[in-house]
C-alpha cells in the first residue's frame, strides 16, 4: 500500500488535473467552436499554435511557460504584483497540465462540433432561438459525448504530464510533486518499491480515463445524431 505522503501526491495530482480541466474548458470550447464553424483570417495559424504542445518537446513548452510566467516574464511579473505567483507553485502545475492537455481537447471538441449538422442549428434559429440557446439546447447536447470523451483524454494526458511541469513548477514535496515527477524522483533515488506503487496507481487512473473515453467514442458512433468521440 502507498504511504500517506504518496497518497498526498496522488491527491495533489488529481486536484491539479481537475483544476486544469476547469481552466482549459472555456478557451478550449471557444477555440474548437471557432475552428469547426467559421472561416476566418489567421485560422491556420491558431490551429497550428494550439497543436504545438502535441509535437514540441514538453520541456520546450515548459521553458516557454517559464519565460512567460516567471518573475521577470511579461505575465508573471504582473501576476506576482497582485499576489498570484505562478512558477514553482501548484498553480504552475495546473497551467502546465492545462497547456499540454488543451490540444487533445480542442481536436476532440472540434470533431464533435463538426459532427453536429449545421442544418439543425439553422432550423433552431428559424424557430426563434438565439445563438446562445441554440448552443445550449442543440449543439452542446448533440456534441456532449465527443466533448466528454475528449475531456477524459485530456485529463489522462494531464495526469501523466512531466516535462513542462518539472520546468515550470519544479518538484517540491507536498507543493508541486505530482505522480510523474514523484515516480521520476523515486527512480533516481533507487527507490524501486515506492516507484512501483505510484506506477500502479498511475496506470490504473490512466486506464480508467482512457477506457471511459473509448466507451464514449463507441457509443457516440452507435447513436444516430450523436457526435463522434475524441480525436487523439
Amino acid at each position: 500500500m502507498p504511504d500517506p505522503s504518496q497518497w498526498g501526491v496522488v491527491a495533489l495530482t488529481l486536484r491539479c488535473a481537475l483544476l486544469a480541466m476547469l481552466v482549459m474548458i472555456p478557451p478550449g470550447l471557444a477555440i474548437a467552436w471557432l475552428l469547426a464553424r467559421y472561416r476566418w483570417f489567421g485560422k491556420s495559424l491558431v490551429e497550428t499554435a494550439v497543436a504545438l504542445p502535441l509535437v514540441m518537446p514538453p520541456v520546450a513548452t515548459g521553458l516557454l511557460l517559464l519565460r512567460l510566467l516567471g518573475r521577470r516574464g511579461p505575465l508573471g511579473g504582473e501576476l506576482e504584483a497582485i499576489g498570484l505567483p505562478i512558477v514553482f507553485t501548484w498553480r504552475a502545475v495546473v497551467v502546465a497540465m492545462a497547456v499540454m492537455a488543451l490540444p487533445l481537447f480542442v481536436r476532440s471538441a472540434r470533431s464533435a462540433f463538426e459532427n453536429v449538422p449545421p442544418r439543425l442549428e439553422q432550423v433552431a434559429r428559424t424557430l426563434g432561438a438565439r445563438r446562445l440557446r441554440v448552443a445550449w439546447t442543440i449543439t452542446l447536447p448533440l456534441a456532449r459525448r465527443g466533448l466528454v470523451g475528449g475531456l477524459l483524454l485530456a485529463f489522462a494526458r494531464a495526469l501523466g504530464e512531466f516535462g513542462a511541469t518539472i520546468l515550470v513548477a519544479g518538484n517540491i514535496p507536498g507543493r508541486t510533486t505530482t505522480l510523474a515527477t514523484a515516480i521520476y524522483q523515486h527512480v533516481q533515488l533507487g527507490e524501486d518499491g515506492a516507484a512501483s506503487k505510484l506506477l500502479l496507481i498511475s496506470v490504473l487512473l490512466s486506464f480508467v480515463a482512457l477506457a471511459a473515453s473509448e466507451w464514449l467514442v463507441r457509443s457516440s458512433k452507435a447513436s444516430p445524431g450523436r457526435s463522434a468521440g475524441p480525436v487523439a
Partner: protein, 249 residues
C-alpha cells in the same frame, strides 16, 4: 398576423391565411451559380418549381434569413427583412422553415421537438391541440424521433414550425421521397394547414403535380432566374398521366 393558428381568431386584413412577399431585384452570387430575380407574391400558398439546380432552395433560404442576398430587398407584409444595410436574423423573422429532411432534433422526443419554438404562453394553449389534431400527431407524442417513419417525421417537422406561430411557412420539398399513399396523405395535411389553420405557405418542389391543387401562384425558376409566374391554370396543363408545365415560348 397572417397565419392565425386557431379557427375563429380575428383574421388578417387580407384574405385569411394569405401573405404578401416581395422580392425586389434579389441577387445572390454563389459561383458558378447566381440567383437573380424579382417577384411579388400575394397568396395563401405559393409554389416555387423548377429543375434541380434552379435555385429553389437557395431562394427559400434567402427568405428564411439563412442566406443574405448580395443586393435587393425582401419584404413580408410591408416589413423589411433584407435591404441595403438591413438583414433581419433568422431568429427574429417568425418564418417557419421546414427543410427537405425535416431536421428533427434527434436528442429530443416528438413533444419536445414540437414545443421547441413555441412561445412559453402557447405551450398548453389550443394551438398545440389544433396542430396535433390537424397533423394527427397524438399517437406518438412521447416517442423518440428516430423511431418515426418518413411521413411521421415530416408531420412533426411541420407541427414544430407551425407552433412557432410563423407568419409564413417555408417548405422545402415536403413530399419528396414519399410513396403514393403517404404523399397523398401529407398533401391532405398541407391542405388542412391552408384551410383550417390558415397559415400561408411557400413550397419548393421540383414536381408541379405536387402543388397544382394546393398553390394559388406558381413561380418557375430556371438557372436562378424567374422563367414564369402565374396561376396553376395558366402555367400547368393537366395530362392524363401527370400534371406538367405548359411549354413556355
Amino acid at each position: 398576423m397572417a397565419g392565425a393558428l386557431v379557427e375563429g381568431e380575428p383574421g388578417p386584413k387580407r384574405g385569411a391565411g394569405s401573405v404578401k412577399l416581395e422580392l425586389d431585384q434579389i441577387r445572390l452570387a454563389l459561383p458558378p451559380f447566381e440567383l437573380s430575380l424579382s417577384a411579388s407574391i400575394d397568396a395563401r400558398v405559393a409554389a416555387i418549381c423548377g429543375p434541380s439546380g434552379a435555385g429553389k432552395t437557395t431562394l427559400l433560404e434567402v427568405v428564411a434569413g439563412l442566406r443574405r442576398p448580395d443586393s435587393g430587398r425582401v419584404t413580408l407584409d410591408g416589413e423589411t427583412l433584407d435591404a441595403d444595410g438591413i438583414h433581419r436574423r433568422a431568429e427574429t423573422r417568425q418564418l417557419g422553415y421546414v427543410p427537405q429532411d425535416g431536421a428533427l432534433f434527434p436528442h429530443l422526443d416528438v413533444r419536445a421537438n414540437l414545443l421547441y419554438g413555441a412561445p412559453r404562453a402557447g405551450r398548453s394553449a389550443p394551438e398545440l391541440d389544433a396542430v396535433i389534431a390537424v397533423l394527427e400527431l397524438g399517437g406518438f407524442l412521447d416517442r423518440a424521433v428516430h423511431g418515426l417513419s418518413g411521413g411521421e417525421q415530416r408531420r412533426v417537422a411541420l407541427g414544430r414550425a407551425l407552433l412557432s406561430k410563423p407568419k409564413l411557412l417555408l417548405l422545402d420539398e415536403p413530399l419528396v421521397n414519399l410513396d403514393g399513399e403517404l404523399r397523398q396523405r401529407l398533401r391532405d395535411h398541407l391542405l388542412r394547414i391552408r384551410d383550417v389553420l390558415h397559415v400561408p405557405m411557400l413550397i419548393v418542389t421540383h414536381e408541379a403535380g405536387d402543388v397544382h391543387l394546393l398553390a394559388e401562384v406558381i413561380l418557375r425558376l430556371e438557372s436562378g432566374r424567374l422563367a414564369a409566374m402565374g396561376s396553376p391554370a395558366a402555367l400547368l396543363e393537366p395530362d392524363p398521366g401527370a400534371v406538367r408545365f405548359r411549354s413556355v415560348s
